[in-house]
Symmetry: none
Subunit: 264 residues, 2 copies
Amino acid sequence: LPAETQSAHTQSPNTQFIEVVLVSPRNPLNIGAAARAMANFGFAHLSIVAPYEPHWREARSAIGAPDLLQNAKESATLAEAVAGCTLVIGTATLAHRKPEQKVVPLPALPPLVQQELNRAGRVALVFGPEKHGLTREDLSWCHLLVEIPTDPCQPSMNLGQAVAVCLYELSSHAFSSQGATPHVGAGASESKAAAPSGTLDLLAAVIEETMVAARYSPHSMHAANRHDLRLLLRRLSPTQRDARRILGLFRRILWRLRQIPKGN
Amino acid sequence: LPAETQSAHTQSPNTQFIEVVLVSPRNPLNIGAAARAMANFGFAHLSIVAPYEPHWREARSAIGAPDLLQNAKESATLAEAVAGCTLVIGTATLAHRKPEQKVVPLPALPPLVQQELNRAGRVALVFGPEKHGLTREDLSWCHLLVEIPTDPCQPSMNLGQAVAVCLYELSSHAFSSQGATPHVGAGASESKAAAPSGTLDLLAAVIEETMVAARYSPHSMHAANRHDLRLLLRRLSPTQRDARRILGLFRRILWRLRQIPKGN
């Protein structure tokens, strides 16, 4: 990736394997503020999901907009944006919601991210739209949720400020633990890295096909089952290698199930 | 002070003895953002020094402006604003300046503030105007300077974001010393507990049967495969509830596989 090489000298070794993902941001000032906070704390990889085009164009062309806005990745869906990531972290205000995943307070997040980077993973930090935040479906792509400890009377933060606070916490940790373990080389690391989100989606699709073929679910797959399966796979968080083995098993089962004669 | 009494119940005991001082802020959006961050992190005492009147009026009358903007203290000089404080902390980007005071990186600040509050002190955290920051004269009212550890290539932060990051660091420290337990939902214990070893063994047996039925492994199960499967399930470490769901899925598949007529 040229962008990585280009700006490698300005980044902490850790931050270049962390992506900041903004889902449908509306306010160009907020997009700009998020990008500025990224530049302040040495993060280079911005990913925008389903942006509102006029505002996105405005944010990119703003005077003094950091380069990383030009290099931002655009995706139609969150699934696509995080397909290459092994640890997807959603940001959420949980005041009125019962979370389905593990919730980590922000001050406790850095060691978890560090751990993932140590095993050559790639991390995504996902922020929702200003008004409503991430939807329940968005959150089903997340391995865990992070919560900024705010005052219960005023829990909802401005997007640009939330990004700044999260990146500060991650980078100040990265800077302070200067001994931050270098990226483990390929080879040994492969077997320990968590499977990226895209692999989990592929696995979910094959399991779903198998369930249908086994007539597991009377009305094939309800949306609710699909949602639960997505969450389940992220809780299990198999390594890439394990994910491939599970995939192989289900493909074999599926192949065998399809040999059942019609009408049986 | 009536403002203190009024909102004391929403604040951490620490934050009510900390004042946020903005010196000559220009942009009403930044004033609003600073106030919002204060509300998010439970700070109530805002002090404005020599504001540019039209912008200050605009910020106060903005829709949704937090109450603390109405209660803000106005002073003509920084000296006046911090007169009641026992520890005055200046925020500064020190790239081009030789500091005359002790400089503390932000992550190291909370214990110093805590120490001051423990001895019944009153703390001011002072932010300069957007363009130039605090002047050398302003800084001369400060006991120490705090520096947010930013990237050397892009050290200068947006005012609203700098306030958010500083208050986050101070308040998350305050909250964490409360013994604030991480979010654990009621009744969540059952679903979060890892499945006991016996359940994993049962699961392994059913998966093994399924593999044989699907003719996945030509020589049924080798000892090595069984060993790997056992390790795999422990790496995944499903919860008791998830283990039961996976078991249900495999039992269903197995049942279906057994409907394949002999010889197929």
